[in-house]
């Protein structure tokens, strides 16, 4: 393999190399610095005149005398069943002091697209034990459901609680966890690791760590490494894999950095126009495949800059993922954990995962009614702020109370409280029972008679 010392420009995370042999698009590159250390990169643009390489570990220390080698292959990850229980760097090297991973396979980290014809529609209910999710925005196995959070909100606790509690009812099988950290602080990472260790989850987890002080451009690799591992475990070893990606905002910043260095025409707020497509190549690596037992369920976490849901990062994510769980600073300030605002939250796949035989027969209509009632209560709060509660009718006051109770009793729960779906639904019925029965227009009579506390008491009396 030839070495070139023909770097003619270094710009941000990019190096420009001239007079090379023909180099393939997307090829892996190694750069040896004058001090003997090496860095890795990938070809972003190749022509007969010049090759542009993005350097994952950053370009610090690279000078025009550095030696560039084109490996003739694209970026791959060593995968093996023995990855479970291991901690790797953001680019896939073991950092837990353990042995090297003996690869069963070396997989390209750019996963090919799943043929839509090969997919199977996800419909198995995952009970997370969190009412605001199970009742209001139900998760199913193979779904990609992000958490839209803000800085300082307890998204990590929620992700951990889900990782601890997630189960498919009637199955003993536990999820394997692939955890990819991108640019989070060491403290945050420790929080995750400690919890994994304490609960024994680490044994069935693969951890990729790119921390805040690790190279930013490496973050472009990390989620792809994680998903490559997840696909291997799910589709070769039939595991149900839960992938947690945090924080996608840092990933997107790295993408923006590359784009700026290339002087591309920026899209909205400086993010590249292809960010949608790029994110899709990550988020779409979830789901079920016909004839394969394993599944990949994705939980990306992102912090919305300025708590703004219209910011390109949450916006493009929401356009790709199958819903979103939105956290609210207001609920957090009220001391409510988990501070999930159900109104902008959504699970697009819940309709197939709930109802008779999956959760419970009343769930669909119960859900409609709970949403309508809470939305009405929240609207009324705005009015109360102006005209005072006295100006409200009795009916309106009940809705107002409903909204409060909904947040305090239904949404609010303990970090270690694992609620059964029946418990969640019954709790909702208790709240609905505070409204006049005539208001429950979205629920059929038969369910009211079956589950409304008034009739249940009669039945048991």
């Amino acid at each position: 393999m030839k070495e070139y010392r023909t770097i003619n420009q270094v710009a941000g995370p990019l190096i420009f190399v001239e007079k090379t042999e023909p180099v393939g698009y997307g090829e892996l590159v190694t750069i040896t610095l004058p001090d003997g250390s090496t860095k890795r990169g990938q070809v972003l643009d190749t022509s007969k005149d010049i090759v542009i390489v993005q350097v994952f570990e950053g370009t610090r220390g690279i000078d025009t005398g550095s030696a560039v080698r084109f490996v003739g292959d694209i970026v791959r990850l060593n995968v093996s069943y023995d990855m479970l229980g291991r901690i790797l760097s953001g680019s896939g090297d073991p950092i837990d002091g353990g042995p090297k991973i003996v690869p069963e396979e070396r997989r390209e980290i750019i996963g090919a697209a799943i043929n839509p014809y090969a997919r199977e529609y996800p419909r198995e209910f995952i009970q997370t034990g969190i009412s605001a999710i199970d009742g209001m925005n139900t998760l199913v196995r193979g779904q990609k459901l992000p958490i839209f959070s803000g800085s300082g909100l307890p998204h990590n606790d929620i992700a951990l609680q889900i990782a601890r509690q997630a189960k498919v009812r009637g199955e003993g099988e536990e999820f394997a966890v692939v955890f990819a950290a991108m640019g989070i602080t060491n403290e945050e990472a420790q929080h995750f690791m400690k919890d994994f260790e304490r609960t024994g989850a680490l044994e069935r987890a693969v951890v990729f760590l790119n921390l805040a002080n690790d190279p930013a451009i490496e973050r472009l690799l990390t989620p792809r490494m994680a998903l490559t591992a997840a696909e291997f475990l799910a589709y070769e070893y039939d595991l149900h894999v839960l992938v947690i990606l945090t924080d996608m905002t840092n990933y997107c910043e790295a993408l923006r950095e590359i784009s700026a260095a290339r002087e591309e025409v920026p899209g909205r707020r400086g993010y590249p126009g292809y960010m949608y497509t790029d994110l899709a190549t990550i988020y779409e690596r979830a789901g079920r495949i016909r004839g394969r037992k394993g599944t990949i369920t994705q939980f990306p976490i992102l912090t919305m800059p300025g708590d703004d849901i219209t910011h390109p990062i949450p916006d493009l994510t929401g356009y790709i993922t199958e819903g979103q769980i939105v956290l609210s600073r207001e609920l957090h300030a009220k001391g409510i954990y988990p501070p999930i605002n159900v109104l902008p939250s959504l699970s697009r796949l819940m309709k197939e995962g709930i109802g008779e035989g999956r959760t419970r027969d009343d769930h669909v209509q119960w859900n409609d009614q709970m949403y309508a009632a809470y939305a009405e209560g929240v609207d009324l709060r705005g009015l109360v702020a102006i005209v005072g509660e006295e100006a409200l009718s009795e009916r309106d006051r009940r809705y107002l109370r409903f909204a409060d109770e909904f947040e305090r009793r239904f949404v609010q729960q303990g970090r270690y409280e694992d609620r059964d779906i029946d418990y969640t639904l019954d709790l909702g019925w208790e709240l609905l029972a505070t409204l006049p029965e005539g208001e429950l227009t979205k629920i059929e009579r038969k369910y009211i008679e079956k589950y409304h506390p008034v009739y249940r008491k009669k039945a048991t009396a």
Binding site: Y25, G26, A113, Y117, E120, P266, T277, P344, A372
Partner: protein
């Protein structure tokens, strides 16, 4: 001097864009790139360089690799076998790709759009000695249980039939011969970027019945018309498009999943064969063609996908069918254009979109229409495009340029979606420029007072909106009684009429007659309420009248009419004695 040939070599690779040199090429020629022969299309010529957008992942392609020009424009195959198919953006059948490369889509796979082995039963409808020209029907093939595939003479071909055969044929066997020696087969090809010819455009005067109350009643689209559904994520674009694909009264549906989710295509694939067309009683899949170029599939093929779908739609139109084309989402197509344009280093326009964004959108929607076909029958293509504005902001270029062209605007509203009011179509913001023309049809075919009812409902909703502003300041108790009652009626219109759950087995589809009955009943209740008020009943009494719950749930029942009548009776007794 360099010799230009049909073979050249790669000079540069940048994502989906490959620059070739030493290649003789015209705009839009299809080329094969590299050893694997990745398919691409010429999108620019600069000096001696040829710019090619490649429909597959270009990893590993390097300068010096071979580039071949096929000399043909990007085309689709049109013939029996289209229905029930699912294709990628360049008409490769996804099941064939799966057979070739497994569950993940591999590279460099060539697959014709139409299967070469299937035999089709061909019955000629013309005889030897007859003169035929482009667009004429020479025979039929029963393609699915409900669709008769009419075999067309390719546009621009004409002559006298010298041979024509009856029997069982594959698509590329000759079924007829013309005096000039032209052999006609069950299929022909057509370049996707060129609209198929027809005799004349006809005025769109027949509504597309969608079975969705808010659409048919308030904002109807005509057969051959154009509509856009813009909305932020989660507001209901895809569900609305799926509803249209399921329940629209067209004979053919072409559904394009353009840069959206894989599972949404899977959903259609799993669901449509099980769903019954309310008009024919046969599975909906029998009339459907799917194009799936999902968000993670190559971006250049996404750009092509809308043209592939449109050409297939026009082809069925040319048989004299009404075709519905749904594109979800046109924004992803526009973004694909932007990405390629950026790589071409073209001068960017607004938000980085190419300056030709507006004209490309206009050209696309212009291919919609109700037409007299070359053979003299009437066919139509109705185009419904979803638009995904960043941040839900309708002032962005794709939404704005689309709204300048389309005649119907279904504005989705995140606020309505958040409170689970579905379809989350904002009734104050949306419009249909066909409404007046189509009124006539509804009056003639559904009910003589259709127009008045519709106007009444719109007025109540508008009145509600202005009253709401006051309520926000003073609370509803401060309103005069009659206005409080109006708010209650508006609520009935919203909750009973406008809300329609796509997943409810009965309410998912509502035929025009039922639409009318429901609205008429609400009007009746309105009149009753105001009469009771005049007679001295209190508003609270009226609002809490028994029978209202049953009334609200009537739409969920097969025998909704009885339920409505009974509920109205109950209310009447309580209020007017």
């Amino acid at each position: 001097m360099e010799v230009k040939m049909a073979v050249g070599e790669v000079y540069r690779v940048s994502g989906p864009l490959v620059v070739a040199e030493g290649l003789k090429a015209r705009m839009y020629d299809v080329c094969r790139v590299g050893e694997e022969g990745l398919m691409g299309e010429v999108v620019g010529l600069v000096g001696d360089k040829v710019l090619i957008q490649v429909y597959e992942d270009t990893s590993g392609i390097r300068p010096g690799d071979k580039v071949e020009n096929t000399g043909m424009p990007l085309s689709v195959e049109l013939g029996p076998g289209l229905l029930k198919s699912i294709y990628d953006g360049i008409q490769r059948p996804l099941p064939v790709l799966k057979d070739a490369s497994g569950d993940f889509i591999g590279r460099g796979i060539h697959a014709p759009g139409l299967d070469r082995k299937t035999k089709w039963e061909f019955t000629p409808t013309v005889k030897k000695g007859e003169k035929v020209s482009g667009g004429d029907i020479i025979g039929t093939v029963p393609e699915t249980e409900i669709v008769e595939h009419r075999i067309l003479v390719p546009p621009r071909v004409n002559g006298v039939i010298t041979e024509i055969y009856e029997g069982s044929f594959t698509v590329d066997e000759t079924v007829a011969v013309l005096d000039n020696g032209t052999e006609l087969k069950l299929y022909h090809t057509w370049p996707v970027r060129e609209s198929r010819p027809f005799r004349e455009k006809l005025p769109p005067v027949v509504p597309l019945i969608t079975g969705q109350r808010i659409l048919d009643t308030l904002f109807p689209v005509a057969k051959g018309g154009t509509a856009a559904i813009p909305g932020p994520f989660g507001s209901g674009k895809t569900v609305t498009q799926h509803q249209l694909a399921k329940w629209s009264d067209t004979q053919i549906v072409v559904y394009i999943g353009c840069g959206e989710r894989g599972n949404e295509m899977t959903e259609v694939l799993e669901e449509f064969p099980e769903l019954e067309d309310p008009r024919t009683g046969k599975p909906l899949m029998e009339r459907t063609v799917l194009i799936a170029n999902t968000s993670n599939m190559p971006v250049a093929a996404r750009e092509a996908s809308v043209y592939t779908g449109m050409t297939i739609a026009e082809y069925f139109r040319d048989m004299g069918y009404d075709v519905g084309l749904m594109a979800d989402s046109t924004s992803r197509w526009a973004e694909a254009m932007r990405e390629i344009s950026g790589r071409l280093e073209e001068m960017p326009g607004e938000e980085g979109y190419p300056a030709y964004l507006a004209s490309r959108l206009a050209e696309f929607y212009e291919r919609a229409g109700r037409v007299r076909t070359l053979s003299g029958s009437i066919g139509s293509v109705t185009v419904i495009g979803a638009v995904s504005p960043p941040g839900g902001d309708f002032s962005e270029p794709v939404t704005q340029n689309t709204l300048r062209i389309v005649k119907v605007f279904w504005a989705l509203d995140a606020k309505l979606a958040a409170r689970r009011h579905f379809p989350a179509i904002n009734w104050l913001q949306s419009y249909s420029l066909y409404a007046d023309t189509l009124n006539e049809w509804f009056v003639e075919n559904v009910a003589s007072d259709w127009s008045e009812l519709r106007t009444w409902a719109m007025e109540v909703l508008q009145e509600e909106a202005s009253l709401q502003e006051i309520v926000q300041l003073v609370g509803s108790d401060a309103l005069p009684e009659s206005q409080r009652l109006l708010l209650e009626v508006a609520r009935l219109i919203r909750e009973v009429y406008l809300q329609q759950y796509a997943y409810h087995p009965v309410d998912t589809y509502c035929d025009p007659k039922k639409q009318y009955d429901l609205l008429k009943a609400i009007k009746e209740v309105n009149d009753m309420f105001f009469k009771a008020l005049e007679a001295g009943k209190l508003v609270d009494e009226i609002i809490n009248v028994p029978g209202k719950e049953e009334f609200a749930r009537a739409k969920f029942e097969e025998n909704y009419k009885e339920v409505l009548e009974k509920a109205v009776e109950t209310m009447k007794k309580a209020l007017l004695g």
